[in-house]
């Protein structure tokens, strides 16, 4: 499987993993390893940045995994920008997964403040991967603003309801020049495969792994699901609009 490139950095795995909701740091690390992911997102709110022995940060071998801090909990652009700055100061990375979720019940991203925070953070030199509603115009606006990837939701966070925003995500994929990472709602490896078959560049999974009876085992299954979906996409699977190697009219006209 060919590599994924975001903001000039190469990733071998197209599965991104979240770190919340696990029963222990050890269960989390085992799942991360089994998933063979590289990109790992961590909520700044959960990390005690003053504590060099924060259990979550200490449990993960950061030589093996790439840290993507996220702004989970931020309710508006100001809060998200503050959290991102804090993450950069504490960890040294300028990558950030932007989450602006004013509604604590469904944790749906705020399109207006997400765009505003993206613009501000890019000005400050961040590499921004915004979590966003599956809105094709917003995806274009975020890309125009300089987002390194766009992360539309399949369904609200934690619901495991799969790709409920299929038509919109297809439009986003069709038009995007930056990687599209389907984030939130992916509840099963088959959902991950579906997103990849649709042409998503990567998927982010957390709840489905963390709350499974055997997180390690399902993490490995997600790894396979992502590969299966990607391979299917590249195979020119019947019924998909995957790009052809050459035009059907080549040399005829």
């Amino acid at each position: 499987m060919e590599n994924l490139i975001i903001a000039g950095r190469t990733f071998r795995s197209r599965l991104f993993m979240g770190t919340g909701k696990f029963s222990s740091p050890q269960a989390m690390v085992e799942a991360l390893e089994a998933s063979q992911c590289e990109m790992v997102t961590v909520a700044v709110r959960r990390v005690d940045l003053d504590n060099p022995h924060d259990p979550m940060m200490e449990a993960i071998d950061w030589k093996r995994f790439f840290l993507l801090p996220n702004t989970s909990g931020a309710r508006n652009a100001d809060e998200a920008v503050r959290v991102a700055r804090l993450a950069r100061a504490a960890t040294g990375t300028n990558w950030v997964k932007l989450e602006v979720t004013p509604d604590p019940r469904n944790l749906l991203p705020d399109p207006v403040d997400t765009l505003e925070a993206t613009i501000r953070l890019i000005k400050e030199g961040f590499i921004v991967l915004p979590y966003m509603p599956a809105d094709p115009i917003l995806a274009r606006r975020l890309e125009d603003a300089g987002a390194a990837a766009v992360m539309p939701l399949g369904a609200p966070i934690g619901t495991k309801r799969g790709i409920r925003t299929r038509d919109a995500i297809e439009m986003i994929i069709e038009n995007a020049s930056v990687p599209v990472v389907v984030d939130a709602g992916i509840g099963a490896p088959s959902h991950a495969a579906e997103a990849m078959e649709m042409g998503a560049d990567a998927v982010l999974v957390n709840t489905a792994v963390a709350v499974a009876r055997d997180p390690k085992r399902i993490a490995a299954a997600f790894h396979l699901g992502v590969i299966a979906g990607r391979e299917a996409r590249l195979s020119g699977m019947a019924g998909t609009s995957a790009p052809e190697a050459s035009s059907p009219l080549d040399g005829l006209l």
Binding site: K21, F22, R45, G73, V211
Partner: protein, 375 residues
């Protein structure tokens, strides 16, 4: 929850209910309905609270446990209360701090509060709840705001559980001082019982207290925490109205988390016994019903509850727990005999023991789940 009318005040909604009829409905067993397990409306929520068979409770427990796992994960967020003062001008008949008890009264100085806070920080706590009796003279809102600002430098999350403030502006001062979380229990939502238990002091005013979380919501608290003190009145009715209140606030203040606490009355000072005791089965049914009807609401279970029950509730619906609580001012730095306690703590485990027990049942204890950069 569907169908909540927020164009009216919550008191108007309560007044529009026939409380006797509601109690009758709640006491009449109704079989568990499958559709009540999925986002029930207020009527469905009431049906969840009616008497249930063991098998029905088992089904509810499976659902509640699954929802908790999916929405919150296998985690419990820990916090500790810090009592600033046990001075109080109210006469709540069930409370160790009531003005006419011969309790030894203590109001901590700012430095003493910080010593207590440091002791909690050292233990590992990063979420702190500032608690005070009602005494605007000794503990005015400005002082609480000042203390919050100091404590906030060490604690990402600062909550308050104090007397109701008078205006949105007063509450806004708290929010601007870094307090993002407010707990205010109505004690009982039943006006007749409320009047009986609150014979003197400003707390006599049921309506003023009931509307306080509206003032707090308007001031922009990130979290509003409701609760009734189970044991004061028939628990099914108070649980139903607590849920109604939570649903009302959640719709009206869509940016605020609405959390639900389940304090249960244990013997307070001088051996007062709860007039309507809620047994463990009652508490469990209340927690399961809240979880099913409010999938996204944190549920708080304090050290009023014994350790074995808390360990089990961590898997069924609870998301937030205090640990090692001292319910008297100065309790963390001066030992147990410094001042009068508000209530006796059933769960006597140290925070370390709570943490170990949670790990043993497969739950990750979380010390920090908020950040000063957020609010």
């Amino acid at each position: 929850m569907k169908g909540i009318d927020t164009t009216k005040s919550f008191e108007e909604l309560v007044k529009a209910l026939d409380l006797n009829n509601l109690e009758e409905q709640l006491n009449h067993p109704q079989s568990l309905r499958e559709d009540d397990l999925h986002n029930p409306d207020f009527h469905g929520f009431i049906r969840l609270l009616t008497p249930k068979t063991d098998a029905e409770l088992e089904t509810m427990a499976h659902t509640a446990s699954r929802i908790t796992r999916e929405r919150f994960g296998r985690v419990i967020q820990l916090y500790a209360p810090l009592y600033i003062s046990n001075e109080c001008i109210n006469g709540c008949t069930y409370c160790g701090f009531r003005h006419d008890s011969d309790a030894h009264r203590v109001t901590l100085t700012d430095d003493e509060v910080m010593e207590e806070a440091e002791a909690l920080h050292e233990t590992g706590f990063r979420h702190i709840l500032l608690v005070s009796g009602e005494h605007r003279g000794k503990v005015p809102p400005e002082r609480i705001a000042r203390l919050a600002r100091r404590v906030k430098r060490r604690f990402p999350s600062v909550a308050i559980e104090i007397y109701p403030l008078r205006t949105v502006e007063e509450y806004r001062t708290m929010v601007e001082s870094g307090v993002e979380n407010i707990t205010l229990y109505q004690e009982t939502y039943l006006p007749d019982y409320y009047e009986k238990y609150h014979p003197s002091g400003p707390k006599r005013d049921y309506s003023f207290r009931l509307a306080a979380l509206d003032r707090a919501g308007a001031a922009g608290f990130a979290r509003l925490n409701v609760g009734a003190l189970l044991g004061l009145a028939p628990w099914r009715v108070d649980s139903a109205l607590t849920g109604y209140h939570a649903a009302y606030l959640a719709k009206k203040f869509w940016k605020s988390v609405v959390a639900i606490s389940t304090p249960r009355m244990v013997d307070a000072h001088e051996g007062i016994t709860p007039p309507f005791p809620a047994n463990d089965r009652a508490l469990i049914q209340a927690v399961l019903s809240y979880r099913i009807a409010f999938p996204d609401s944190p549920i708080v279970v304090s050290t009023r509850e014994p350790a074995p029950l808390r360990n089990r509730l961590a898997l069924l619906g609870a998301t937030t727990m205090s640990a090692g609580s001292k319910t008297e001012p100065g309790g963390y730095t001066h030992g147990d005999e410094h001042a009068e306690r508000q209530f006796e703590v059933e769960d006597q485990r140290t925070p370390e023991e709570v943490v170990e027990d949670l790990k043993r049942v497969g739950v990750d204890p979380v010390w920090k789940d908020w950040d000063g950069a957020i609010g």
